[in-house]
Subunit: 309 residues, 3 copies
């Protein structure tokens, strides 16, 4: 294929490598926009985006909103708590109402896996997945992969380790699919309760000890350990997790000096990641944040072109 | 009269037929804007609108906000929970503060009937009623009447039935005044506890059984039955209501094949309206949503012109 | 000095008189913008402002947001409740993330004194203090001083009385520093529990009775008495406060006829201020609100110029 023909972005799993590379190449151009004195292009002027966050989010919603503003779109934010959804309206009715308002895009976070596909089949708006349960978070994976490609010059043949609660992580799933499609070697690591061996059936290496997981890694991508909805059944304690699987000056010895340290944020300093590493020379965590806007601008732009064809 | 001279829109009751028609004609022009590739005109550029929703609303607030964006206005959203109102400031002080910030419009939803008139008399801003208690919801009626006129080519002489909780409905009141002013024949129908016979004194037919209410109707406009603040005292049960006054394939037999089915949303599927009808060929519910933006753009535009004179 | 070289505005205490006057002079120009038919200039087009209100505020946040809109900035609002801060992220991590999104300004309200300095030293964004605990609220003082200068033609030599809960007030502190720097004579007055005599060490007159406090005043600036977080330990009752330190037709006899009455809002009518005075000819309370936007536009504009140098 030679272009982008999708009106939706729901899962990295659905994309072929050319589509992923097209997003990354387009994002490279948009990254320049945010570096200018006037951080704005008129690409989406007069288009409307609804950010429908049925699960709350500051970080991802803000990144999307900035991407939308820098493309000059008109923006409506709808949060779950304030929405008609709480008046018993179905999600489909909400979406059809949004469509009837001649909205061009729905950027949605929703706990139900499948909700995005369901809507995308039934409405003309572009549907962009901003996270669905433990399924996928495609723009997070795209910004992670963009950051790796920018720093390492390629994805193919790199060894990427994803570390933490793989079982419950949509970030992990989206990264795994994207990295495999582009030819990286992926290792997933963490306590065996959170990283079941069944993962090897999808083509990743499963590893239950940190030294092995880090040894040949060119990149280590750490997942957030969820304090707030304690995974009590899955590991003994936060302190235990930090000492066995946390990245700190001691465990860093296993990692190559040139390897990248990544994290989708927000960081639990002292749990999965020690401050010395988070703020150290191998960390590209804040560059991930910067690149998130470029990647989201690229996705909105490509879909907008497809919609207007 | 040959134009629009009001700085406020508070009640359909206050308008004469020429004013209503002027809004509808203006809305026809604005409807085209939302169908364009660039859904935006500069009519309200550099004007400020405050959406002050002292009662929460997603649907109406979003429709107003889209109308404002497509007119290029600057927009401030103030929700009750976050407002100085909770610090004991009076509504008049809040409004005077908004006025002092050189705001042009206050779009307000408020539970107190009379609040809009009270403010409109005391501040220079245009005041637009987005719903006040059980009194009026003028832009909802205007979008309903716009939709009927668009589909039927006229209002005069049409038989319009409004069905449901007439007693507590601002949507019903605004529709009744607008339809009567434009020469329609209006029937209100529902359980007699919710549709007291006193309504006949304002020139509408009161009907307490569905077959009679639907028989000659060209349009049936269904009101939402309020699950959440159960009208326990007014009818035996939701199931009972659905079977006696709900519109479903069985009760639809009483309605002419060409009659329009309308609903202000959000729909309680299976209560006042069966899914087969809501999604069927006679339903114009989503067109009402589309038209809501056009009507609100027209109201803002006409008032803006009046304010700058 | 001949210009503005700061990337942050955190405290009036830090400014020299020339800097304060430069803000006031710039605000005079921006005040004209809000009086135009098109209330908008492109000065901050393509710049991004994050309003980070870790303590809630409608009034100040709205004033800043209007100032930002009228400068054509792109705006992100982050409220505490919805923020990553509640996921245990540190304030510095939140700010670094905002910076990584190539944001130009953080307008922040935060209960912790020192939080703004801490961030300003560590990030490139301009940091504007929208209130920090009981420390400072610099833009409130600037709008108060702007209003006095506009009405009285000067600040030097004027007698300004600040009345109320001086001990807990950031508005009082910012006003005191600004007024003293510009050569006014400042009196602070109120119950001695709320206006300790130690204040005289910073060059203000301390007064514990209303007649003396008002006698020679050219301006009296009333502070809000906090109903909601009752200062139970500090004075016997609201009624007692109102009768001894409230401004009403009876106590107004002590004030010169030409003296200005100011209040930062929201007013507790009948407590610190009687309605007759609030709405009377000496009150400039609503002009303060109008001037707030001009002053905030000036601060954003001056910092924006400094940032782009």
């Amino acid at each position: 294929m030679t272009g982008w023909n999708r009106k939706d972005l729901i899962a990295i799993y659905d994309l072929d490598p050319e589509e992923i590379n097209l997003i990354l190449d387009t994002a490279e151009e948009f990254k320049k926009v945010s570096g200018r004195r006037i951080k704005k292009v008129p690409a989406l002027r007069g288009k409307t985006v609804v950010n429908l966050f049925v699960e709350p989010s500051t970080r991802t919603r803000t990144s999307f909103e900035l991407a939308e503003q820098r493309l000059s779109a008109d923006i409506i934010n709808i949060a779950a708590a304030s929405s008609s959804l709480t008046k018993g309206e179905t999600l489909l009715d909400t979406a059809r109402n949004i469509e009837a308002m001649q909205v061009d895009f729905i950027v949605m976070r929703h706990s139900a896996v499948g909700a995005h596909y369901f809507l995308a089949d039934r409405i003309r708006c572009g549907v962009i997945n901003a996270g669905d349960g433990a399924h996928e978070h495609p723009t997070q994976a795209l910004l992670d992969i963009f950051t790796i490609r920018e720093k390492k010059g390629r994805i193919k043949g790199l060894n990427v380790t994803i570390l933490g609660d793989i079982l419950h992580s949509r970030v992990a799933r989206s990264n795994i699919w994207g990295l495999l499609k582009l030819g990286a070697n992926v290792t997933v690591a963490g306590p065996s309760t959170l990283v079941p061996h069944e993962f090897d059936s999808i083509g990743v290496r499963v590893c239950d000890n940190l030294p092995d997981a880090l040894e040949d890694a060119d990149v280590v991508n750490l997942l957030r350990i969820q304090h707030e909805r304690q995974r009590a059944a899955f590991f003994p304690s936060i302190g235990e997790y930090a000492s066995v699987f946390g990245l700190n000056p001691k465990t860093m010895r296993h990692l190559k000096p040139g390897a990248l340290v990544m994290h989708p944020g927000p960081i639990n300093r002292g749990v999965e990641l020690d401050s010395k590493i988070a703020d150290g020379p191998q960390s590209v965590i804040l560059e991930q944040v910067t690149n998130g806007i470029a990647v989201r601008m690229a996705v909105l732009y490509l879909i907008s072109n497809a919609l207007s064809r």
